[in-house]
């Protein structure tokens, strides 16, 4: 009996010591936030995994890694399914609000060719500002009702604005502000965190399984995934925004989606856009 007590006490002491060592090492070596190193590692992962895919081609998602799909897509691009949205977006963009102002009054360079700079971190506000959020703020400041973040007009407007930036390299800045770094890190954490009953993270599909199939779909690589948005998806039968993309991804893992433009969604967009810096804007895109 006494021997058993001694053994149990020793085991407990060893466990405590092991936990203490673990805790000490965790404290001694805190994770540092290094977006530059992250972006470099992110790019290397995908270029190593898909050595035949040209770097700038990753923005074309599944078409960059499946020859048959690419051929179909190239044919489809003669009369792209997002064309109607593009025209509608152009018209909406130039149509004055009731007060006579337009979207052009809300954005630098009149809103033309600026997609590659979104999202950005607003140091006054301490938040990530996405293009979708900026569009609705523009509307509200001019006395107009905000648009749904998911599709329709918002998708058309962002499609037009993306189109005016096509080919421009993604150019996301992380200012020297701890809040910006925290937002970036929160976005990264969201990207890698498993959720939903299926226990999937964004990375489960778009890092670990990029290029693989889920049913008939080829999973797009995470590198450059934001550059093609908004997109026309055959699965949706229409256009969808970045918000819609994130909401539908969450639903597919059986997680209750967050509200569009929640902090988490804006932060993950910030993270994914930053690690795609230098890759061209290809939106609006089309996907199966």
């Amino acid at each position: 009996m006494r021997a058993r007590t001694i053994i149990l006490t020793a085991a407990a002491a060893l466990s405590t010591a092991a936990l203490a060592c673990f805790a000490a090492s965790a404290i001694a070596a805190p994770d540092t936030i290094d977006p530059v190193a992250d972006a470099k590692a992110f790019r290397k992962y995908f270029t190593d995994k898909f050595p035949k895919v040209k770097l700038n081609d990753f923005v074309n998602g599944p078409y960059s890694m499946n020859a048959d799909m690419r051929k179909q897509w190239e044919d489809m691009e003669q009369f792209p399914p997002y064309e109607f949205a593009l025209e509608a977006g152009k018209e909406m963009f130039s149509k004055p609000f009731k007060n006579g102002k337009t979207y052009a009054d809300c954005f630098s360079n009149g809103g033309i060719g600026i997609r590659q700079n979104y999202p950005y971190f607003d140091e006054k506000e301490g938040n990530v500002i996405t293009l979708e959020l900026a569009i609705n703020r523009c509307r509200e400041v001019n006395g107009e009702a905000p648009l749904s973040y998911m599709k329709d007009e918002m998708a058309s407007l962002t499609a037009y604005m993306a189109y005016t930036s096509r080919g421009k390299p993604m150019d996301i800045k992380i200012p020297n502000d701890p809040r910006a770094l925290a937002a970036y890190e929160d976005g990264k954490r969201y990207f890698y965190t498993r959720r939903g009953q299926l226990n999937f993270s964004c990375a489960s599909c778009h890092v670990q399984s990029a290029g693989e199939h889920i049913r008939a779909e080829t999973l797009a690589p995470a590198l450059g995934i934001m550059n093609a948005l908004p997109i026309y998806r055959s699965e949706w039968g229409g256009m969808g925004t970045t918000s819609r993309r994130l909401v539908s991804c969450n639903s597919q893992t059986r997680a209750v989606p967050l509200e569009p433009q929640s902090d988490e969604y804006r932060d993950v967009e910030y993270f994914l856009s930053y690690v795609a810096n230098g890759l061209p804007i290809s939106g609006p895109g089309s996907r199966p």
Binding site: Q197, A255, V256
Partner: protein, 103 residues
Amino acid sequence: MSTIRNMALAAVLLVLGGGPALAASEADYKAALAAAESAEKDAATLRNRWTTTESALAAAKKAAATGDFEAATASAKQAEALAKASIFQASSEKERWKDMEIR
């Protein structure tokens, strides 16, 4: 002595558990629903609700509305188990997400 007492208790529990199940009452349902909703509230605080939990909660309420407290209680208990699993997931992922990170 204590081992014998524990064995006897286990036997009693086994007999009770193995006997015919009593039909769940409205009170059973209400207790199960309260437990499920409490767990789901905690999952919501962690920003990690599951669609399946919500479906089970909805099924529980729908069954209760028709007076089928047996099915309602079963669905509520299922919802509680799912909510607790989502809480576990959110808690464990607080650190485990780093295992997936590209470095």
